[in-house]
């Protein structure tokens, strides 16, 4: 709009003093003032605004901010989306509402107005169909046209100044690593929906991309590489071709979902919803102004405007005038967080649970800057230059030249997931399998120059000359095809500009970029029973087997209800220093990874006469670096276990199937354990699991240690109370009147004891049960039907494969991951 026209509008059409007309009924809409307020003039920011577009739809049932499209893992008929949607426009002065799209069985979300103010881009799920797709409609309600299609969901679109569209899509074929719904990450397409390609390699959600005036895309990136899964969802930026991915705000401060961020006109600030902790349903939270100038890590630069956490979808007209959705209302918030209601949904929609969403003014607006593309889509790789690996926060004591290599790891997308936890991928650590990609050299000046496959989620571990881990990255980076980009060091403050290194050029630039050197003989994706247990069997089990149990430690590969004894022991006894599921990161040098792991000390020659060869040592080393995971396939999730097995549909949160407690053998064993063991095992520190599925008691008495489903007679639950004369450990002691331990308890004199047999019966049934289910480390492994369903949907398994078939899950996972790799375009 020209200035002249704007002035004309202001002075002719909207004379100052014109009051907001209230209580006009149109299309069943009611415009109401906030209780107790009087009719007021709209702020001057509304002078050019004749209409506001918004979506109306009910909240979905799921409390997660992201779980609002697609279906649930264990039941494709159980949908995460809500039903019923309208796209409306509101005249903020008269309260008149025009309905542009009304679909009682469909879904409408995320409208954005084009730069020309004449059309609206939004995400629409047509009634009777499942996926959300991108649509455009003229602001007068004409010309509804579908831009994208296919079996995946496309949501949260925004126009790009180069004529394209950025959006989030589940085309990425991956699932939340700690929930039972699909993931959507950032894609772009042309303005007509053609030429769709990914801009992100995130394995978790990206959300609400929006263009900054300088041309970058501001968005929410959720990630958790070896750290808490519920704390790191902050603001990031990327260029409209996916290059230059960089944190914008918050990544060092866990515990807030920062989402729906948009630039505030005329400032360098952005407005965002800060939704506390792991975020609230439908992104609800506090409207917060973020100033970027002090950098991403300065908490004082975020100003929450108000109390309360029920606001959504802020659209700033200025720092002092923000359109915002609030329950069933559209409100205007000022810079002090005071709101005025300008619209309320009609009662009948309120009663159906409809809420107001995404109010945005229908006005023309300037295009943001266009950043020229830095990608070359014909390339498979991009290049990364690191100027000085020792330059960073918490690099205390790391000396120049100390780092000689970077270990390149990849955090791997997940094709299905069933629960909120990480089991059985790890025991309280990573949710995610990590690929050992290889190493790249670091020069004496700390520089590195490497070629990385495009659009994959990599992270690095800095290694010293002994290949011990010095510093671990707990985030990920990806390069785009053909991108050449640089970074300063490891975790340097983001307000730091690169210092001149004091020499003409980085040493790493004296030669072509290093391809990642594969590690000879090291598996790309570790499988603990396959890759680590044989080494333990050879070197550790002679002393730490089920019989000898030196130091009370068992490292046998006996299967517990979920983990092997050995896996449980190593993790429960803190033998590996992996990233736990905690809201801490950027750990001090040499406090995480193999170099900091007690297990490496046990195998360095100082532990009795244990001597591993170099390859065996490296096998252990890189297993720890790759997060010390248990299975080597995601098909292991929820499968072949007692306690975490999924085999039935239904329920929003797929319930863990706990079938064992219904068995007669279990009931009998539980009775015995209660009766015979309970009198002594009566305190928290000594509680025993009564069932194979019961998580009770500390690590020493964990169900994974006391039940041996490989060789039931070798279960600690049986051997400990069994007299040593009868082949047991005779380990149980009596408690005297004073509560002191006194003499052997002689619980089971021999194996003929009916109570002994009762417990054995349960364990034997458990063995039979998991052999029927099959576990990932069994030859005849049959993955769950949900895994098979998704792998067929992703085109990895053929149509003829049936649930219940024996499938090489490791190979299937590898093929799945490879299918997600960037395919160069000619």
């Amino acid at each position: 709009m020209t200035i002249a026209l704007r002035l004309k509008r202001v002075f002719e059409c909207r004379p100052p003093g014109m009051l907001l007309t209230l209580c006009v009924m149109t299309c069943g809409a009611v415009c109401v003032p906030a209780a107790g307020t009087v009719a007021e003039e709209l702020p001057p920011e509304f002078n050019d605004i004749d209409e506001i577009v918004f979506a109306a739809r009910p909240f979905g049932a799921d409390f997660h901010w992201y779980a609002n499209f697609g279906y649930y893992a264990c039941d494709e008929n159980l949908k995460a989306y809500s039903v019923g949607g309208r796209l409306c426009k509101l005249n903020p002065r008269t309260g008149d509402v025009t309905v542009l799209v009304d679909d009682p069985e469909g879904g409408v979300r995320d409208p954005q107005v084009h730069y020309d103010g004449k059309r609206i881009l939004f995400s629409y799920r047509k009634g009777g169909t499942d996926p959300y797709h991108l649509y455009e409609i003229n602001t007068d309600g004409s010309g509804l046209r579908q831009l994208t299609d296919g079996p995946y969901d496309d949501i949260e679109p925004a126009y790009l100044p180069d004529g394209g569209i950025v959006f989030c899509s589940s085309r990425c074929k991956r699932w939340v690593n700690c929930w039972l719904t699909h993931v959507a990450i950032i894609y772009r397409c042309d303005g007509d929906g053609k030429d769709i390609r990914p801009l992100s390699a995130n394995i978790e959600h990206d959300n609400t991309p929006w263009v900054l005036p300088d041309g970058r895309i501001l968005y929410m990136r959720w990630e958790y590489v070896d750290r808490s899964q519920v704390d790191y969802h902050h603001l990031w930026t990327m260029n409209p071709d996916g290059t230059g991915q960089m944190v914008y705000y918050g990544n060092m401060h866990p515990g807030t979902l920062m989402i729906d961020a948009k630039p505030i006109p005329g400032t360098n600030k952005v407005i965002s919803i800060f939704s506390p902790r792991h975020g609230r349903r439908s992104h609800a939270g506090a409207v917060t102004i973020v100033s970027p100038e002090a950098g991403p890590d300065e908490q004082a630069c975020a100003t929450q405007l108000h109390e309360g956490l029920e606001f959504r979808d802020p659209y700033p007209l200025s720092e002092d005038c923000i359109l915002v959705a609030h329950r069933q209302f559209i409100e205007v918030m000022n810079g002090k967080g005071e709101t005025r209601r300008i619209y309320a949904l009609p009662k009948e929609f309120g009663q159906k649970g409809y809420q107001c969403h995404e109010p945005r003014p229908i006005i023309s607006r300037p295009r943001e800057r266009v950043i020229p593309a830095r990608v070359d889509l014909s390339k498979e790789t991009g290049c990364l230059i690191l100027s000085d690996v020792t330059d960073g926060r918490r690099m205390d004591g790391v000396k120049p030249g100390e780092i000689t290599e970077l270990l390149v790891l990849e955090t791997l997308p997940m094709p299905i997931h069933y629960i909120g936890g990480m089991s059985p991928i790890t025991r309280g650590g990573s949710f995610t399998l990590e690929r050992v990609v290889g190493t790249v050299p670091v020069e004496p000046d700390g520089s590195a120059y490497m070629e990385l496959p495009a659009l994959r989620s990599f992270f690095f571990v800095a290694l010293d000359k002994n290949r011990n881990s010095v510093k671990r990255m707990q985030s990920f980076l990806s390069v785009m095809p053909g991108e050449v980009t640089s970074c300063v060091g490891c975790h340097e403050p983001r307000t730091k500009t690169p210092p001149n290194p004091g020499r003409q050029a980085l040493q790493a630039l004296a030669r072509p970029p290093s391809a990642i050197q594969k590690l000879e003989g090291i598996p790309e994706v570790y499988d603990f029973p396959r890759d680590i247990q044989p080494i333990l069997d050879k070197h550790c089990v002679p002393c730490h087997g089920e019989e000898k149990r030196a130091g009370g430690v068992t490292l046998s590969g006996g299967r517990g209800p979920e983990f092997t004894h050995s896996y449980h022991t190593l993790t429960a006894r803190g033998q590996i220093a992996d990233g736990r599921n905690r809201a801490v990161s950027n750990l001090a040098p040499r406090t995480i990874g193999a170099g900091a792991s007690k297990l490496m000390k046990k195998i360095d020659g100082s532990h009795h006469d244990v001597t591993l060869d170099t390859h065996e040592t490296d096998m252990i080393r890189y297993w720890i670096e790759a997060a010390g995971t248990y299975p080597g396939t995601y098909a292991a999730l929820g499968s072949g276990m007692i306690g975490h097995h999924m085999n039935k549909t239904g329920g929003l949160q797929a319930e863990q199937v706990i079938v064992d407690r219904e068995w007669a053998s279990s009931k009998a064993a539980a009775e015995v354990i209660t009766r015979r063991c309970g009198p002594c095992h009566n305190e928290k520190a000594r509680l025993l699991p009564r069932y194979l599925s019961e998580n009770r008691g500390p690590g020493k008495f964990s169900r994974h240690l006391v039940f041996n489903l490989s060789r039931p007679e070798k279960s600690a639950m049986l051997l400990a109370p069994l007299d040593s004369e009868a082949g047991g450990w005779g380990a149980c002691r009596k408690l005297d009147e004073n509560g002191k331990w006194a003499g052997p308890a002689d619980v089971f004199v021999n194996t003929e004891d009916a109570d002994y047999q009762a417990i054995l019966g349960m364990i034997r049934e458990g063995k039979t049960h998991i052999e029927t289910l099959t576990r990932f480390d069994m030859e005849e492994f049959r993955p769950l039907p949900f895994y098979v369903r998704e792998m067929k949907r992703f085109g990895i398994l053929g149509e003829r494969v049936q649930a219940g078939d024996v499938i090489d899950a490791h190979a299937t996972d590898l093929a799945y991951w490879e299918s997600l790799w960037w395919k160069p375009r000619s």
């Binding site: 100038e293 050449v484 983001r494 210092p499 003409q504």
Partner: protein, 613 residues
């Protein structure tokens, strides 16, 4: 001889409209204010209109031009005499002069000859002398105000561009515009010369942080304790892969303790995602509260809370971590958030602010491309924002002028980190080596002057761009990370094509010296002219001249023009030779550039000729 003749003709043609600062001839209808000075009673502002060849007196009461004093050439700087009676104006021509003008009516009372392209006149506090920077003579002239004659000429380092004197008159601080010396070492920076005014010599050259170049402004605090120099801080030792977070050029103020004659520290005047390109003029408010500087590339005034800044610098010097980045003093020049909370960026109405002055809390800025003076109250409570005082009628911008605007305007650039002029000040070169991606990485090369680039294709040292037009567009895309309409690039082309040479300071009255004439004979005799033939002094061909190292040992480099080579030091593709004579004498220059069998005297003559081109 033919070449010299051509050259002399060119000089004559140029001299009339010579735009001294950048050596750029632009249409005379533009005023192009470069410097401002406030009268002692703060009632009037004097504006040096560079291409307008005049001084404009602005009545600060009604904020309008009250008087115009025509000049015989382009003014580059001005100051008011200590008693307020006179205006001292430098006329920036090769045969430069200092005008003494009656402040009331503009009558020229004296025309004092000084050096090549004088700039930045500074009156001593006691009124006894005027200091003038002779930019292309690399000297500072001392003029006795009583005798109106030069009494001393003090050599400084390279292109003295700005100066300020302490209130006690003891120290004159001079900003050397560019680094001097070879550029292939580990540390390259421009320096600030501190002159002992009594001894009339340089007491100390203060070295700025590695990568400092493009010094444009210098101010001294009211108490005389500190000098502040504005400059670019290039991250030239890293490949130019991106701009985010100041990956190429950052923009800075260096703070010098005058008594100790040492650098206190250097602070960046960019923000983490918004550059503040090309800082130029700098002033302190009289009460010392504010340090204000202009950003010629982003059309802003930065207002720094001086006490807060010094306090933070002192704390970090005392070992306190004052920000996430600044744990130690050496971190400060890399801290994009150091000034957060103590610096405000005020947008100006007009483009291209250069010299600035302050009266009370009002800053006046010479808006070079706005033909206006920007006025902004730096008081944090002040409302409204900046205003502009038009110095003449509003004019359409010619394509050439528009091109010049674009060349200097960092608004073209992603996040406003730099403009073309950041690496190519006045279209020439910043004296640094840069590692551009167009010829691979790890092989930095000395910035080339863009003078004659459109006339001497191909361009870039490796000749990787077939012509300058291509390079202009590549620069927009790969250096500024911007998408611009074709007409913007065309305008930049048009501007660059019009750039005129600045006559060499080695010429005598526009002609070759005797030594240069002898050198010319040698030049032709030993074959220099075969690759560097007149009139462009390049045959436009690439050669392997044996200077490429390692991966580049077989790489051919495009033959550069030698016109204006006197101002494009250092030499050879990686700037390994600080001077032409160094180049001729060093075996490291390759056979073609290290002629054997010549006496030292002959080599000196040859160098003198080359430097006269």
């Amino acid at each position: 001889m033919k070449s010299a003749a051509i050259w002399r003709r060119r000089c004559l043609a140029v001299i009339v409209v010579l735009a001294v600062l950048p050596g750029i001839a632009v249409a005379q209808e533009y005023l192009s204010p470069v410097a401002v000075a406030v009268s002692p009673d703060q009632s009037a502002l004097y504006v040096a209109a560079h291409t307008g060849h005049r001084i404009l007196a602005v009545d600060l009461g009604n904020k309008a031009v009250a008087n115009t004093f025509a000049l015989p050439g382009p003014p580059t700087g001005l100051c008011v005499s200590a008693d307020g009676a006179a205006l001292y104006v430098t006329l920036g021509t090769p045969k430069g002069s200092l005008l003494v003008m009656n402040r009331a009516d503009g009558a020229v009372q004296a025309t004092i000859p000084v050096g090549h392209t004088p700039i930045a006149p500074v009156a001593s506090p006691d009124g006894t002398c005027i200091y003038v920077c002779n930019r292309f003579d690399n000297t500072v002239a001392v003029i006795d105000t009583a005798t109106k004659a030069e009494v001393a000429k003090i050599p400084v380092l390279r292109e003295p561009f700005a100066a300020a004197v302490t209130p006690d008159g003891k120290w004159l601080c001079v900003a050397n515009h560019l680094p001097a010396g070879a550029s292939d070492g580990d540390y390259v920076s421009a320096q600030v010369s501190i002159i002992d005014t009594a001894a009339r010599n340089v007491a100390k050259n203060v070295v700025l942080p590695n990568g400092s170049t493009g010094l444009r402004g210098l101010a001294v605090s009211p108490d005389g304790a500190y000098a502040y120099a504005t400059h670019i801080l290039g991250r030239y030792q890293l490949p130019t892969t991106q701009l985010e977070r100041g990956w190429m050029n950052t923009n800075a103020v260096s703070i010098i303790d005058i008594a100790k004659q040492e650098l206190v520290n250097t602070v960046l005047v960019d923000d983490v995602d918004l550059g503040g390109a090309n800082p130029w003029g700098v002033v302190c408010s009289a009460d010392g509260a504010y340090l204000c500087l202009s950003h010629a590339g982003t059309h802003e005034i930065s207002v720094i809370d001086r006490a807060a800044m010094h306090d933070k610098i002192a704390k970090v010097a005392a070992g306190e971590q004052v920000s996430e980045v600044s744990r130690a003093p050496e971190d400060v020049p890399n801290d994009l958030a150091f000034l957060v909370g103590m610096r405000r960026r005020l947008k100006l109405k007009g483009k291209g602010p250069r010299g600035i002055a302050i009266a009370g809390t009002t800053v006046y800025a010479a808006e070079y491309f706005g033909d206006s003076v920007g006025v902004v109250d730096v008081n944090p409570e002040a409302r409204p924002g900046a205003a502009s005082i038009a110095l003449g009628p509003e004019q359409e911008l010619s394509a050439v002028r528009q091109g010049q605007v674009f060349f200097n305007d960092a608004a073209l650039c992603f996040q406003h980190w730099q403009s073309c002029a950041s690496c190519h000040p006045d279209v020439r070169a910043d004296g640094l080596n840069w590692d551009l991606l167009n010829d691979g990485m790890g092989n930095p090369k000395n910035t080339k002057s863009l003078f004659l680039s459109h006339q001497t294709p191909p361009v870039m040292i490796t000749g990787v761009r077939d012509k300058a037009e291509t390079a202009v567009r590549s620069g927009i895309r790969y250096i500024q990370f911007a998408v611009r309409p074709e007409e913007d690039a065309v305008a930049i082309d048009e501007f660059l094509k019009t750039v005129e040479a600045v006559p060499s300071p080695h010429l005598l009255e526009g002609a070759l010296s005797e030594a240069a004439k002898r050198g010319e004979a040698i030049f032709n005799e030993i074959g220099c002219a075969s690759c560097h033939p007149a009139p462009l002094f390049t045959d436009l061909q690439p050669y392997n001249v044996g200077t490429g190292k390692d991966r580049e040992s077989e790489v051919k480099f495009d033959t550069p023009t030698l016109v204006e080579v006197w101002r494009t030091a250092p030499y050879l593709h990686d700037g390994r030779a600080a001077t032409v004579l160094d180049m001729l004498k060093s075996e490291d220059s390759g056979a073609q550039h290290h002629p054997t069998g010549l006496t030292d005297e002959q080599l000196a003559d040859l160098a003198e000729y080359i430097l006269s081109l």
